[in-house]
């Protein structure tokens, strides 16, 4: 297939979010080199059909494609997302928001959360949340775009979207097809390999057609048709630390003004999501089948919907983990085929984006170079491991003793890398950070403090801070509060900026 040693044709197997994000990315960034990009998908099989909450990084992906934000948000019925509210995680009755932004500001090398803890101990500060602009905005139903000027309080946060992922894929399909990506409808029934190299040579469709290519991107979802079944990448099972393995998903009608955050409420054997879009609310109950039956899980979900359900709940089965290699020979896995870490922190679409970025970075123009493969796998392993640790933290840092599930996750052995981080914070309030980690300081602080892991010791320099400094920090809360009060409501911003035709907001 390869002409003059140059790579000519890329086949993307699968047309879910991963497939179309890959098609869009490659058509914008790589296709100008004169490559053919073909995406094959099967309506008969369909997509996983969930995945509505995202992280701020998605904006940079969309910007790199040159997508119009207003158009995209209106088309996908999107709302803004400033963070995730966690209810009942540390203890039943607790709630905190993990915001996409900073808390307060550091002072002379002293981390803000230490100053807050000091003020808290003196009775001058209640929640650290009051020092986070995006938390206060979320709680008051407000929204404003972040400011560019770094001296402005409004520069201290970012935002993501809550959107209809199916429509996001459609949007990207339109974008990709306009840039020359061909879409083929058909079911892949077999895969042809080249004898001498073991590379994939073609995909065989149910119709009998053969799809030849030079590079194959496996976006076939949990099936992992190419990377797993064909290339033999092993699945590294992480259910020992992330035991949830099923979810029921159902949408319901909106009942109140939309809010700019996703909610994750802990349940007896898992947790439930609530993702408000412009025209409906997405809901799902993620649970561990070892501790709860399907019927009970579905009952909990349906019994706690705020609006009328828009259909029957759909069951999804999964296992947490990743492939031991995500790129093998001329086959690269992107999306669920490469692994899945459950949707608690909306990381899947981010991981798709990370894989596309790494793929473009090492994109073969001729034969695949083993050095590119090695680097891709190294980078993606790091991404997965660091996301894993952050997710496990939510389950493990709990005081809940009210069910077998919580007793299990509270006491299970955790990865050494996470144990190290937790001990460092618990003992001394220091967040161990890494350059390549997705979640930065404020995210870890949000979960640690939100789940009652108050450091035993803090920076001793705090004790020497003068009253003027402490008073300034104490007063910052009021500044944030008045700044947020002056903002428009989230619904007003949506109505003016990106109303979707199906919008049914009450606010």
């Amino acid at each position: 297939m390869m002409k003059d040693g140059r790579l000519k044709r890329i086949i993307i197997a699968g047309g879910g979010t991963a497939g179309w994000m890959t098609a869009a990315g490659l058509s914008r960034l790589i296709r100008p080199l004169g490559l053919d990009i073909i995406l094959v998908e099967s309506k008969q099989i369909g997509t996983v059909g969930v995945g509505e909450a995202t992280l701020p990084h998605m904006r940079f992906f969309n910007q790199s494609l040159g997508l119009d934000e207003r158009e995209l948000m209106a088309f996908t019925h999107a709302t803004f997302k400033l963070g995730i509210e966690f209810r009942d995680w540390g203890r039943i009755g607790d709630a905190y928001i993990h915001p996409f932004g900073d808390y307060g500001e550091d002072h002379d090398g002293i981390a803000f959360h230490h100053i807050w803890q000091h003020l808290h101990a003196q009775g001058r500060a209640r929640r650290i949340d009051d020092w986070s602009v995006p938390v206060v905005m979320s709680e008051r139903g407000r929204f404003a775009f972040p400011a560019a000027d770094t001296d402005d309080l409004l520069s201290t946060y970012s935002y993501a979207y809550q959107l209809d992922a199916g429509r996001y894929a459609q949007f990207l399909r339109r974008f990709s097809e306009a840039r020359g990506v061909s879409r083929i409808e058909g079911r892949i029934v077999d895969v042809g390999r080249t004898g001498e190299t073991g590379d994939i040579a073609h995909l065989k469709l149910e119709s009998g057609a053969l799809l030849e290519g030079d590079l194959f991107i496996d976006c076939t979802g949990f099936r992992a048709l190419l990377i797993g079944e064909q290339m033999g990448a092993q699945f590294l099972d992480w259910s020992n630390v992330l035991p949830c393995d099923r979810a029921f998903a159902v949408a319901c009608e909106s009942v109140e003004p939309s809010v700019a955050y996703t909610r994750a409420t802990a349940r007896t054997a898992g947790w439930q999501w609530r993702i408000p879009l412009q025209h409906r609310i997405g809901n799902g109950h993620v649970f561990c089948s070892h501790f709860m039956s399907d019927d009970e899980a579905a009952g909990i979900l349906m019994g706690s919907l705020e609006g009328a359900p828009r259909g029957e709940p759909r069951l999804l089965k999964f296992k947490a983990g990743q492939r031991d290699r995500q790129w093998i020979r001329n086959c690269v896995a992107v999306g669920l085929s490469s692994g899945f870490l459950e949707p608690l922190e909306s990381t899947s679409i981010y991981l798709i984006q990370a894989a596309i970025t790494a793929l473009v970075d090492g994109f073969p123009t001729g034969a695949v170079d083993a050095r590119d493969v090695e680097e891709f796998n190294r980078v993606m392993d790091l991404e997965y491991e660091r996301v894993r640790d952050f997710l496990v933290l939510h389950y493990h840092a709990t005081e809940r003793e009210d069910s077998e599930f919580w007793n299990h996750v509270r006491t299970m052995p955790i990865p050494d890398s996470l144990a190290y981080k937790m001990e460092l914070f618990r003992e001394r309030g220091v967040v161990a950070t890494y350059k390549d980690g997705l979640f930065l300081h404020p995210s870890w602080i949000a979960v640690y403090l939100g789940q009652r892991m108050m450091p035993r010791r803090i920076d001793p320099r705090v004790a020497g801070l003068g009253e003027d400094v402490l008073a300034r920090f104490a007063g910052m809360k009021g500044d944030i509060s008045s700044c947020v009060d002056a903002q428009q409501s989230h619904d007003q911003v949506i109505a003016g900026y990106c109303p979707s035709p199906e919008r049914s907001l009450s606010g």
């Binding site: 960034l29 790589i30 100008p32 080199l33 790199s64 002379d108 090398g109 981390a111 473009v360 970075d361 090492g362 994109f363 123009t365 170079d369 050095r371 590119d372 680097e375 001990e423 460092l424 003992e427 001394r428 220091v430 161990a432 890494y434 350059k435 390549d436 010791r457 803090i458 920076d459 001793p460 320099r461 020497g464």
Partner: protein, 477 residues
């Protein structure tokens, strides 16, 4: 006759080095309520090992915590703003390149500039890589301004280091530390009594002893408190250092030069009142003493500066590492050293990472030099081997946690030392070579024009000093 009572304090700093007084000043600022004392060490050979130290941008944060300003460094410590280092001779007599902070060129279509530069080079239209760096162009012209605050302005696209007279900085730190209440013991530290992984007390001259909560070993290569235990040697040629210095009233203050030949290298740079030349010549049969302490924070004692890590001087590692060490120590300060196990563990993890990075930066030059001389490459760490491999395969720069050199410095050094990418990012291939050349040559012209408008560093500094004199008055130190 009974033993005299041990001398007491909260923190005792052993040594008379720059690290010692910086450490003492830092503690006096961080914990003004504690009693900090400094005692000289009997075996400390030369407390000022480097005539000049170079502060990287990371120092700014610490500088603010220490209550020092750039004007202090320029005025009191003969400081100058160093914008670039011109390297010559590492891979052959004619091979010249510039290492500088800040951006080179500008990224386009998601690809970093060095990919486009490779295309320009292939088309025979590439002036030197440094032409596209504002810092380098300013350095070559001897100019200086502080970077513009507006990130969109061309004049924001660079950063700088500060070259400082080490002895004067030590004196300044000492003066400030004493003014802040630090005590100076006149008796020398003669020995250390360790038990159960902790220092019980120090033996001082005249049968005295000192017993404190926390010790800093700043005794340089004598490693007076920590000793040789846990010292991990690294493979590197030992060097003999010769230092020369000439008075100067003018000349280029913004540029340092490093000139290498197979058995030596010479660095020349300007302080405000003199030019300093240091030559490092290889001692083929000498014993390399370079290395680092595997556990720089042990029990109630932290080794700082050369006592913790001693590396060849090419990237002026001593002060960069001291900056990093003090930054880490500040962030991990123990409330009670007796219970600081996690603080020590995290400190050691991150300090060792920094030592490794600094070592790699030097090893890159040794590897390049060995390559051109047909000699076997020195042992490379996995990190550095990967960095070189990924860069030469397709210009991809792998950066790790807690790096010290910036990405633009790594790229400039890799390219300059002949680690040329075999191919470039596909993102850079979409544009026509003519358009690429046209675009970036115009960019280089904008740089030239911007540099022309800037003052030379002499003038800039005179201005700064005049302002400083107004603020501090005639008697200030």
């Amino acid at each position: 006759m009974s033993m005299p009572e041990p001398l007491r304090a909260n923190i005792l700093v052993a040594g008379d080095s720059l690290a010692a007084w910086m450490g003492a000043l830092a503690f006096s600022r961080w914990r003004p309520e504690l009693a900090v004392a400094v005692a000289p060490y009997h075996g400390e050979d030369s407390p000022i090992a480097d005539p000049v130290v170079i502060a990287r941008p990371e120092f700014r944060k610490l500088m603010a915590q220490l209550g020092l300003t750039e004007a202090d460094l320029v005025s009191e410590c003969d400081g100058t703003f160093l914008l670039a280092t011109r390297h010559a001779g590492w891979t052959g007599e004619a091979a010249v390149f510039h290492q500088a902070l800040g951006t080179f060129g500008a990224p386009a279509n998601g690809a970093a500039f060095h990919h486009y530069y490779q295309q320009m080079r292939a088309a025979g239209q590439a002036p030197s890589y440094g032409t596209f760096s504002l810092a380098t162009s300013m350095a070559l012209a001897g100019k200086f301004i502080h970077p513009a605050a507006n990130p969109r302005a061309l004049e924001s696209a660079f950063d700088y280091r500060i070259a400082i007279d080490a002895a004067k900085l030590r004196d300044l730190a000492k003066h400030r530390a004493l003014a802040a209440g630090v005590t100076q013991f006149s008796t020398k530290v003669m020995g250390t009594a360790w038990s159960d992984g902790r220092i019980r007390h120090l033996l001082l001259d005249g049968e005295q002893s000192a017993e404190v909560d926390f010790y800093l070993d700043c005794t340089g290569t004598a490693r007076g408190l920590t000793g040789a235990a846990g010292w991990t040697g690294i493979q590197a040629l030992p060097y003999r250092r010769e230092t020369g210095s000439v008075e100067t009233g003018d000349g280029n203050l913004s540029l340092a030069t490093v000139t290498a030949s197979p058995d030596r290298w010479t660095r020349e740079l300007a302080l405000r009142t003199r030019r300093v030349t240091e030559t490092f010549s290889c001692l083929e049969d000498g014993l390399a003493h370079f290395g680092y302490l595997a556990v720089p924070w042990r029990g109630n004692c932290v080794a700082l500066g050369r006592a913790a890590c001693d590396l060849p001087a090419l990237h002026a590692p001593a002060f960069s590492l001291l900056t990093r060490e003090l930054g880490l120590l500040g962030a991990l300060l123990p409330a009670d050293p007796a219970t600081a196990r996690v603080e020590a563990r995290e400190y050691n993890r991150r300090a060792l990472t920094a030592f490794g990075h600094m070592r790699d930066a030097q090893a890159l030059f040794e590897a390049a030099s060995a390559r051109t001389q047909g000699k076997p490459s020195p042992d490379l760490s996995d990190n550095l081997a990967r960095k070189i491999e990924q860069f030469t395969s397709r210009g991809r720069l792998v950066m790790y946690d807690d790096e010290i050199l910036s990405d633009s410095e790594w790229i400039a050094c890799l390219l300059g030392l002949g680690f040329t990418p075999e191919c470039v990012s596909p993102l850079a291939m979409a544009a026509s070579v003519d358009a690429v050349c046209d675009n970036y040559l115009r960019f280089a012209k904008r740089i030239r024009q911007a540099v022309e408008r800037m003052p030379d560093q002499q003038t800039y500094i005179q201005h700064m000093l005049a302002e400083y004199a107004k603020e501090t008055g005639p008697d200030a130190v």
